[in-house]
Amino acid sequence: MSKQVHRTLSESQVTAISEELNEPDWLRELRLDALQSLDELEFPDVIQTPGRTWTDLSKLDFEALVDPEGALEQKERVAPEGVEVLSFAEALEAHESLVREHFGSVVDPQENYLTALQTALFTTGTVIYVPEGVEAQAATIRTTMAGQSLFNYTLIIAEQSSSVTILERQETADEGDFDERYYSGIVELVAGENSYVQYGSLQDLTENTYNYGLKRADTDTYATANWIDCNVGSRLTKTSVETVLSGEASESQIVGAFYGHDDQHFDVDARVWHENEHTTADLVTRGVIDDEARSVYEGVQDVGRDAWNTSSYQRENTLMLSDESEADASPKLIINNHDTEASHSATVGQVDAEDLFYMKSRGVDEHLAKNMLVSGFFVPVLEEIEVEELREDLNGRIQDRLAQRTA
């Protein structure tokens, strides 16, 4: 039903977006191909437990949510020395062959219905180009959506032996009166040989926004791609953060944090594919849900047949602050090479009664004690964040949430 959205989209609309941005033919073709493919594509996989589909994307009314002509935004980009942080149009002008080589190379535009929709309709994007050997401080991107819907595309190309930390934030502008909004963001990270990239993201959209996100890295030999993915805002978020460890001895850490309240819904995935020898992955996610919020987590460690000497670790903890909140977590470990050291665990639970009693017995009231426990719960995640600005922003948002707690 909801897939009907593409019936109302026309080739001329997509062509108009492409022409407006002065795009080369190859990109326009990619967009049109994506548009055509919508008919056959499925929504991304979601967790199902007996009798329940946690996140039913097919129920969303994309036709009402998506307005191809209503893509307004404000953008801030800060480039550290030696790094180019360009709008998509600027990047096409300055580095067309580079963009053409890598666009769609990590995330197939026709991977699923939502990636294809994004490819057909994206109006804004950023290309971060870190040339060979450059070691850079933090690059920052702030996207503030101001229209009904926004499709945002980010491509990071880190060349051999380069190093960079990136901070991306998504927010919603005050202006604009929409019942519901839709934000979609795809990030492709091409981590060249021996490069190091930490990509931190803080999603703080207003709570009438439906949000789809897919971030994926592909690592060359000895490369490190680390993700910090923080979700605080939105009405519903379906997001996946992934690394394909293609190169020998490459590494990835995926750190996730979410804090849901009211009737927010988070569907958060972390996935890693070990495809070569001596690769290492570490997945750590911590989430808090309060009120009637729901969260579902899926973590996948897939060890390929050729992935000798793999190290792969995964742990997830969801803390429920109310009796009405609901959570599910599913850590999955798929091993096709026996030369693997791996662990995976997930827990879902309420604040520990003994911890609470201990703190209360020292004079701290229950409300404050819970807030301290929640703050402390996020510390392992905060400690992984290299960009101080992101650490402070996330901690600030956690403290704001705690200050709003009534129970």
């Binding site: 017995s361 020292r362 004079g363």
Partner: protein
């Protein structure tokens, strides 16, 4: 001077058909006194401690736990006569703490991400604030006490100053830690997380020293301690009494710690009741003769 008075205390496990554990405990602990509470496993010693502090796992079915304060209990602020006696069973655990009751845990909780220094300063300020509220009644109901703590970043320590500011508190903490022969680095560690058994017990005594209770109930503070640590902990307990005038109710299985912390009174529990009381000699006698002797004395059977 304060007095903790336990009268005919009955309690059971807080669930349908929960086991009756306390069957009428009577005990009086005055500040400045050291009491040892001994008894075999399952006699109700730890339950007594937990019920005094308000542990939710137990339901009190009869009896009272009272604290009697005097007018100078909390220094300059005079405690009016009508607010000198409180029924602890009606109060939340944190309110009991504010009135001067401290429970040292047999198994202290490990709290990740909350530093010792942050927790202890928050606790001290929360206790002072709660005390003020208890004695001022409704006037300060709208206080922002509910917000006092979460300005506190777990990463960087406190942002807002409570009654006791950061600098003042750090000085206080340093002094108390030196007294207990604790390494300064403990202050920045997460509360009990990864502490050895002995370090946890030391930390319990440290917290008591910081919070200055009128009566401290110490639940098997001596278990799992090597001799050096036992002496440090004993020094700390004696200081609570000698320097702060606290009353101590020390729960223990063994005579060992009583060699270093000499009790004024010894009580023996059996089957959820205090069945025998005496002076320090009683614990020596118990060590020699064992609980069967007590049983025989009390019930007339071995």
């Amino acid at each position: 001077m304060a007095q903790l008075e336990i009268k005919n205390l009955h309690a059971k496990v807080n669930e349908d058909g929960g086991e009756e554990i306390l069957n009428g405990v009577d005990l009086v602990v005055n500040s400045g006194e050291i009491h040892a509470l001994m008894g075999p496993n399952g006699s109700g010693k730890s339950t007594t401690a937990k019920v005094i502090a308000g542990h939710p796992a137990y339901e009190v079915t009869d009896g009272q736990v009272l604290i009697h304060l005097d007018d100078e209990e909390f220094g300059d602020e005079e405690v009016p006569e009508e607010l000198q006696t409180w029924e602890l069973l009606d109060l939340e655990p944190n309110e009991r703490a504010a009135l001067g009751v401290f429970l040292g845990f047999q198994y202290p909780a490990e709290i990740e991400g909350v530093t010792m220094v942050n927790f202890l300063r928050t606790a001290l300020n929360a206790k002072l604030e709660e005390r003020e509220e208890l004695f001022e009644g409704d006037e300060s109901e709208d206080d922002e006490d509910d917000e006092a703590g979460y300005e506190t970043s777990p990463m960087e320590g406190a942002a807002d100053e409570g009654e006791i500011g950061v600098a003042e508190f750090q000085q206080l903490l340093k002094e108390k830690m030196e007294q207990l022969d604790m390494d300064e680095a403990f202050a920045q560690r997460y509360l009990n997380a990864g502490f050895s058994g002995g370090e946890k017990k030391q930390n319990e005594v440290l917290q008591a020293a910081i919070l200055e209770p009128s009566v401290a109930v110490l639940d098997e503070i001596d278990s799992g301690l090597d001799i050096d640590r036992l002496q440090d902990v004993a020094t700390g307990i004696n200081a609570l009494r000698d320097e702060q005038g606290a009353g101590i109710l020390q729960i223990t299985h063994y005579q060992r710690i009583l060699d270093y912390v000499e009790p004024d009174h010894v009580h023996i529990m059996l089957d959820g009741e205090v069945v025998m009381s005496g002076d320090a000699d009683l614990s020596v006698k118990l060590e020699e003769k064992g609980y069967d002797w007590v049983r025989e004395e009390v019930y007339g059977t071995a």
